[in-house]
Each structure stands twice: as structure tokens, then as C-alpha cells.
Symmetry: C2
Amino acid sequence: MGEFDIIREIFAPLTANTPGAYNLADDAAFLESQNLVVTKDLMVAGVHFLAKDPPDLVARKLIRANLSDLAAKGAKPVGYFLGCVWPQNVKRDAIEQFAKGLAEDHEHFRIALYGGDTTVHAAKGAPLTLSATFFGAPPKQGMTRRSGAALGDDLYVSGTIGDAGLGLMALRREFKFTTVDKASLAGRYHLPEPRLVLGTALAGLATAAIDVSDGLIADAGHLARASGLRAEIDAVAVPRSQGAAYWVAAQQNRWKALATLSGFGDDYEILFAAPPAMRRSVVMAAKASRTEVSRIGSLTRGDGVLLLDEKGAPILVPETGYDHFSKR
Amino acid sequence: MGEFDIIREIFAPLTANTPGAYNLADDAAFLESQNLVVTKDLMVAGVHFLAKDPPDLVARKLIRANLSDLAAKGAKPVGYFLGCVWPQNVKRDAIEQFAKGLAEDHEHFRIALYGGDTTVHAAKGAPLTLSATFFGAPPKQGMTRRSGAALGDDLYVSGTIGDAGLGLMALRREFKFTTVDKASLAGRYHLPEPRLVLGTALAGLATAAIDVSDGLIADAGHLARASGLRAEIDAVAVPRSQGAAYWVAAQQNRWKALATLSGFGDDYEILFAAPPAMRRSVVMAAKASRTEVSRIGSLTRGDGVLLLDEKGAPILVPETGYDHFSKR
């Protein structure tokens, strides 16, 4: 029983008469009568962040993970509703730190808290559980969907891939990075940077987009499936940070290492498709938004995702993204 | 450290520039630019429902608790976003039952699911945690606020008070009710009835309203505080069901029993204020919406809540409503 099967088989049928729910197969919904893009993301201690992570960073990660969904849709964030279920033994100081983190990102992203709910677990040891529902204004060209990619479209991704996963490894001391790389990778894990400016620049240009939260390969699969196509990704073209390059060089099997990077979650980059005729426009959108964008593959006939080596042969992919129902 | 202190002292300052957040002191927020009433309620197993409650009833309680907030605001529900954090050992069958409950109430209330998020706890034994963000259309007279009551206004409540709390007692076998009363009280605990039709009828008539979820006394306190007044409630006038009357009769101290009933949570009735000149209109609104409404007191100068006996003397109130941060 996988997370995506559950959504597709059990919950999606409930939305049969609601076009704006997009069959629960997009990052956000569209409330047509209100012209509003809405997204909701949960975060649970021990799943999406570490129980000992500083509360202000947890708050900001919650905000940014949700903003990343709006960014992929080309939407301009407006505000949100917040739900907090605190552990039984929570201290006032932790809640204050959490609120301080919210306040920082309110200012940074010019968003407003509108309401919510706060409660405490009755079960001893039950983890901090967070929920946020964000809403934003769609771009005038309309919300960028997951499902619009056409056969032959190029596939692009912003920033670098795999850093948050390596950051978690670094925090858990599972690999020894240089001090500089460790700080940078841990930063990617704790404090993602939603690509809001790029998302806006891509509105009307990208034929399909998704934010990379489950992992590049998994999210490429979501985009390809929604568009009725296959995603082919050139493993060497997937952008890597200095820390990631260092880690890959230290691995015995280079292809397996590249595949692992593309399987890590929490990147919060934008993966998008655009027609080959628009390559120059994509370069200009990247430049205008001061965001690195890499062309990493294309949409082809078929289904699923192929990660290809330098000769164009498929690499066996050990990991297909984070599935909350399967990883236990 | 109380729940309401935390909201008032730590979270409310974050909304200083957001008029529609109403200082986090209302059941719902108002998104002015979208003309949308929005509310968000959390439910956690072991806090808001029993871990062994049937999943379809839990789903419907989640929907109805949120609809009750919209009802008190006079809003017409449209749709919602759903967040589920399942326990580690969840079975597919339980999720299917849950979705069946959602589907039933979708039809009953003509609401639509728009999106959400679903994940699984990493911690063993961590409880099912649910979150819903509901949105609705405000009445043409404008959303009924908590803060509009005037000095001398009457205080009314719909339905009967204390039944859900007694239902929980019955389910836990803490008191022996007749079979009929037990079924009826347990029904009030499991399946609240949001007073949507009454809420609509009260728009423009009620000067202030709140849904009774924390308990009559606590919620009267919220309404009174928001309106800058004191709530005085005639304990004998608080409406009781047959089961509640039976329970009160079995208690040694009648006044203490009446106070306890008014302290129980989960009633999901509407508590509202209206000017004495509008008594006839209130009766007609109740009649038109086929909902029992009782006049139980008034708003006076001062603060807090007084529960009065038949001679008008204050009853010592043992319970001031459910506070998630204090009850541990």
C-alpha cells in the first residue's frame, strides 16, 4: 500500500465532481470562483524534520515547503492557516522560538497568518505535528499544472539536486563532509529556498511544473504520469553542488551515487517542462529571476522515468522517492 | 501556560497587520479580497476522539466540527483541504472506511474535497492526527463575529448542552444511562450536527456568535471577552436533553451538576447574542430553521462568565472549558 496508491484509489474518487481538485494529482488546487491557488502540506517530527531541530527553523521549513508548492504553480503567496499539535511536554520557550521563525519568514516573503488551531497530544511521546494551508494568487497566464507537458518537451530543474538528503546524512554524521560543505548541505535540509521568482517567470512558458519534494525521480514520475508521457533524465546533466560532487567522488559506484542523489527528497526546486523552441526564453527567465536552471532531459513516449548514463543506457534506479506509507 | 494565553500572547501578535485574522480570537478568518470565510480545526486521537472510534464516524466528526465553525459565522460551506497523519500500523481498510465517511458527508452537506496531504507517523504508537481547512461563502449581511455583542443583549444557545460529554461518559461506562439515552448521547459525541441553517437565519440578526466546542461556559467567556462584556447565564435555563436531565437528577449536588454540564465540550451548538428588541425575530429564525433555541442569559457590564442559580446568585464553576495545554 503506497502513499500515491492511497491518494489515487481512495481519496481521488471523492473529488470526481471538483475540477479544481485536479484529481488530487497536483501540488495545489484551484478555487475557480475565488481565483485562488491553495496548497496544504503536513510536517511531522521524525518524518519531515528532526525532533531536535531548532523550532524556529522547523517553522520556517513548514512555511517554505508550502511556498515551494505555490512557486511551482507560478502563484504569488498571500497567507496561510496553521495547525500545531505539540508534544505533551512542550515548553513555552519552544513555542516562542517557533513563532519567532514564523515572524521572520512572514517578513521575508510578505505573507500573513490568518488563523488556525493549536492543541497538545494526549499520548506520551507523540511527535510535534504541523499542518499549513497556504493560498496565493495565480499568475495571469493561469496556474502552471503538472499535466501540460507535450511529447518532445525539454525537462529542466532549478538549483542543485540531492543536497537536503546529503545535509541529513551530514547532520546524522553518516558521511564526513568538509566544514563548509556540511554547513551548506545542512542549510539546504533545514531551510529550503522556495523558487517563487522563477515560478512567476515560468508562468505561461513552462508547459508543466512540480516542486521537487519527494525526490527528483519520483517527482519527474508524477509530472510524466500527469502528462501521459515518460520522463528521460540524463544523470550527468542533473545539477550538483560542490558538496554533492565531493560525495559522489567518494562513492564506489558513480552511477549508483548519481541515482541516489536523484532519489533524495526535500530539494524544493522546481522541475518543469518547456518546448525546445522556448530554450532561449527559459534561459532568459532563469537570468531574470537569478536562479540557476539546468536542462536535464525530455518527455518521451511511454510511462515512468528513465535515468540514463552518458551512453543513453538506463541506470538501475535503487530508489524511487519518498513514500510515507512504504518506508517503514 | 494555557491554550488561549499561547494563542493570545505568542501567535496573535503575528497577525497584527492582518485585519481578517481578527487577532486569532474568532472561529474563522475572513479573506476580504476573496470574500471567503475560512476555518481550520485539528483532531487528534485520544484528545478529540477515541482511538477505537469507527473511522467513518471520525471522518464525519472532523467535517462537522469544522462546519460548525462556519455555521456560527453564518457562512455557507463550499469545500475543504484535508491533512491525515496515520498511525504506523494503519490498515488500508481503516483508510477506506474513513473515506467512506467523508463521502457520506460530502453528499449530505454538498461540500467538496479540494486537496490536502497524507502521511504516516514515524514514531510507534503516535496517534491518528487530522487537520481540515474549510472555506465558505459569507452571508450577504457579513460574517457574524464573536465581538459584536452589546450591553444588555440577550444570550441564546441552540439545541441542548452537555450531551457530548455525557456521551463520552456513557461510552466509557462511567455512568449507567438507559439504552435509549445512551445511544442518543453517544450519537451526540460521535456525530455532531452543525447548525448551518440556523447560522444562516441568524446572519444580520445575531450581534455575535460562536460555536460551542470548548464548553458553554468557556465559549460564553470567549464571546464576552471579544465583545468587552460579561456573560451571565441562568443555569436552569440552559437546555438539557432527557439523558442529561436523568443524569442531573442522579447527582448529589444539582448546581454542581448543572455547572459540569455547561463545562463539557463538543456540543457544536451555536451560542449567540441578540438585542432584546429582536426576541420575536430570533423565535422566527429558530422556527424557520427548525432548530430549538433557548434564551439563557444576557451580556452585562464586567468581564468573565457568571453561572447563576434560580435566585440569581453565582454558582461556583468547577470547570471553565477544555484547555488543551492545561489538562495534563
